[in-house]
């Protein structure tokens, strides 16, 4: 599923790199502990977090994540935005909670799996 399709269904705003909206999303990961995300998120996933400081950019870049979604309407710090621009990381914000975002994205991707005859 493309990031743009997910965006359409979430109340999300794109902060950096809107041109990367055709990136393929393979799944998602939720977490606010950076070591947990570094250890367990997979390339191509969207990462839902409430952390807004610049170190989230390094984590997203290192793991080749499709995008970072800041939940609860949190806004990225200035240096987070700057780093995300530099390092080609797509940052989104959404007023939804992590739980709501995870539920919505999971449903979209699971629905797609069913539709494509995975069962």
């Amino acid at each position: 599923m493309k990031l743009s399709e997910i965006l359409q269904q979430l109340d999300a705003a794109v902060c950096t790199h809107p041109e990367r909206a055709d990136t393929e999303v393979t799944g998602g990961y939720c977490g606010d502990l950076l070591s947990d995300v570094i250890a367990n998120a997979q390339a191509g996933q969207v990462w839902v977090t409430i952390q807004v400081h610049s170190n989230i950019v390094a984590v997203a870049a290192l793991k080749d994540l499709a995008a970072v979604i800041l939940a609860n309407g949190r806004k990225p710090q200035e240096d987070t935005l700057r780093k995300a621009q530099e390092q080609n990381v797509t940052l989104l914000t959404s007023p939804m909670t992590s739980f709501e975002l995870a539920g919505k994205i999971y449903t979209m991707i699971a629905h797609l799996d069913l539709g494509s005859g995975c069962r």
């Binding site: 606010d32 502990l33 950076l34 070591s35 947990d36 570094i38 250890a39 390339a43 977090t49 952390q51 400081h53 610049s54 170190n55 950019v57 390094a58 984590v59 870049a61 290192l62 793991k63 240096d79 390092q87």
Partner: protein
């Protein structure tokens, strides 16, 4: 390690949270350019990130040396800092000496050293209290 070795040194500054992650991102890019397989790069990138963050969070300064041979990728990480009093405890998942401030930023989950060990084929740690810590990390190719 002998012929055919790629070697590069990186400096890491303690407390420099703005540049934290820069060295591991660079290491990942170098390995990609050398043509190392993606699953190996992922493991090395995790180990490099955790090692780099440990220097940023706890030490005054540090150095990461990347070496690549046809057989292995090796990271030698050394820092000048407080050292680790009880390595056995520090290796336990969930144990952390991070401040409340660092935890609020999502650091100090007590997963750093365990993450490095999990992703390495060989891992050694030595530390001297009041002087610093050295890590040897190897991933077989």
């Amino acid at each position: 390690m002998n012929g055919g070795t790629f070697r590069r040194e990186f400096e890491v500054t303690g407390g420099d949270f703005y540049n934290a992650g820069r060295v591991s991102t660079e290491i990942k890019e170098i390995l990609r350019q050398i043509g190392i397989a993606a699953p190996k790069i992922r493991r090395i990138a995790i180990a490099a990130y955790e090692a780099e963050m440990n220097i940023v969070m706890y030490a005054r300064s540090g150095m990461v040396i990347l070496q690549v041979t046809p057989e292995i990728v090796r990271l030698d990480v050394s820092d000048v800092g407080p050292g680790i009093e009880n390595i056995e405890l520090a290796m336990q998942e969930g144990y952390s000496t991070a401040s409340e401030e660092m935890r609020a930023l999502g650091f100090g989950a007590g997963m750093g050293l365990p993450n490095i060990k999990k992703n390495a084929d060989r891992f050694e740690i030595r530390s001297e209290v009041g002087k610093g810590t050295t890590l040897e990390i190897e991933v077989n190719l």
